[in-house]
Amino acid sequence: MSWTAEEMMTVAAARALAGHTSCFVGIGAPSTAANLARRLHAPGLALVYESGTIGARPRTLPLSIGDGELATTADAVVSVPEVFNYWLQAGRIDVGFLAAAQLDRFANINTTVIGPDYRHPTLRLPGAGGAPEIAASCREVFILVRHSRRTFVEAVDFVTSVGYGDGPGARQRLGLRGRGPVLVVTDLGVLEPDPASCELTLTRVHPGVEVADVRAATGWELAVAGPVTETEPPTEDELALLRALTEGPVP
């Protein structure tokens, strides 16, 4: 069975949710990964969406973070102020999933503007949404993003959500209570912060990907772990469930 790089990325992210209780989910690849995890190995994983749906069990992939399917299948639907204050800010959520338009070596994220001038951007992006507080307050953060030099940049144009700031100790100085990004899953491999330097370090490549490919797609001089392992390829089960999810309703 063959698979796409996107599928490998989603499967790798879904696997990383094993053992976790709750997940704050954004729409797109994170939602797909979290819903795949619930079907694979984490049936009890509580999905929390910023629309206020707590413990949603969508039978089909939601089209938006406020899909009616999420409300209908949730344990509880709470107000938006409540989901941010009582659930996210209080540190009740295990894993937060984030995307990025730009990402630097300390896993700081930009989803606001491209270009040096905030007032006159080259490209206006959607903005912060729930991301800054997800990055601050979830116990751990996973980042899901496709690998390219446009995204993996030396310096982000705007810090929308804080990863490790300017390096070791920054999160503590800023009063951020979650651990920060512990995993960056891309279509090429997996990066993890070095425990000492907090710098994102390539620890795994997906099958068929060379370390040099990842270096070439990274806009800074990428640190590479002593042993770089290879991701297990997607199993037939994983692929079948993922495709059923992305291609239509699952009973």
């Binding site: 729409i27 910023e50 629309s51 206020g52 749906t53 089209l63 938006s64 973070i65 406020g66 899909d67 009616g68 999420l70 409300a71 209908t72 639907v77 107000s79 938006v80 102020p81 941010f84 204050n85 996210l88 800010q89 606001t112 905030y118 006159h120 951007p121 080259t122 490209l123 206006r124 959607p126 903005g127 912060a128 949404g129 729930g130 991301a131 800054p132 507080e133 601050a136 307050s137 705007f158 810090v159 929308t160 959500s161 804080v162 700031g165 920054a170 800023l174 009063g175 951020l176 209570r177």
Partner: protein
């Protein structure tokens, strides 16, 4: 007590040039019909407030109704960019758009403070982000007990809030359910409020998860069946996903948008 009004009449009475206007609805129950009525009424210089400006705000901005946007995430959900918003920010078309930009948590707390009659709210947020350099509506604040540094955000107090709900009774009591987002806070934070509803019924029988807004906390209620399309109204109709995709093509191009804008006039 809320007055039962026609939509066109309600918008013309309650939304005035230069007002701060919040249309809320988090993906669900977006008051699109009311927003388009603001365009028809030709309102100008509005300060538009919304956590998630989406198609209806793209339309308002493209139509030149807005002077300023207060928001936390501006996109076409599940599709991509808001091209009219981008054109306004990137190229000042049809007019420059001032931004007051926050995170969702910040916006939600700004509404909650407004709803509670407080001038500000406190949250853990913004520390280390560049958002702090581009808005005057947040400030550091210290806990008087622990000394911890936190962030204060200024309350939102719109002149008028507009939301859409499933139904009202004849006395103007309103009921909405499903994802109810930040609508109660928006209505409570505003000086005036207009609620559009799918229908008026004799009795609002209780429903799981329903929010009820009594008539005496509202200004006006207008019947607008389908008023949340192309978003959805739980129990009434689904999201029209094709419209979201279609809007991407219309909004990319100033001429195509202008054609759409002309078609909107009665």
């Amino acid at each position: 007590m809320a007055e039962l009004v026609g939509l066109a009449e309600g918008i013309r009475e309650l939304v005035r040039d230069g007002d701060t206007v919040a249309l809320e609805g988090f993906t669900h129950l977006i008051p699109v019909a009311a927003g388009q009525e603001i365009i028809r009424a030709g309102r100008r210089e509005l300060e538009l407030v919304r956590m998630t400006p989406d198609i209806v705000y793209d339309q308002l901005i493209g139509a030149g109704c807005a002077r300023k946007l207060v928001f936390s995430w501006g996109g076409n959900p599940g599709v991509g960019s808001l091209h009219r918003l981008r054109d306004a920010v990137e190229h000042g078309w049809p007019a420059p758009l001032e931004l007051d930009e926050h995170s969702h948590a910040g916006m939600a707390n700004r509404y909650a403070a407004g709803a509670a009659g407080l001038p500000f709210a406190v949250l853990r947020g913004y520390a280390g982000t560049d958002l702090v350099h581009h808005t005057t509506t947040l400030a550091p604040i210290s806990c008087p007990f622990t000394g911890e540094r936190l962030t204060a955000v200024a309350a939102l107090r719109p002149d008028v809030a507009v939301i859409h709900a499933q139904r009202a009774d004849r006395a103007g009591n309103v009921q909405l359910w499903g994802i109810t987002g930040v609508q109660k806070e928006a209505v409570f934070a505003a000086r005036r409020s207009l609620v559009t509803v799918e229908e008026v019924v004799d009795v609002l029988d209780p429903r799981p998860g329903a929010v009820v807004l009594p008539s005496w906390v509202l200004t006006a209620v207008a019947v607008a069946p389908g008023g949340a399309r192309p978003s959805y109204a739980q129990g009434y109709y689904d999201r029209d996903n094709a419209y979201y995709q279609w809007w991407d093509t219309i909004s990319r191009d100033r001429d195509a948008f202008t054609g759409w804008r002309k078609g909107l006039r009665q």
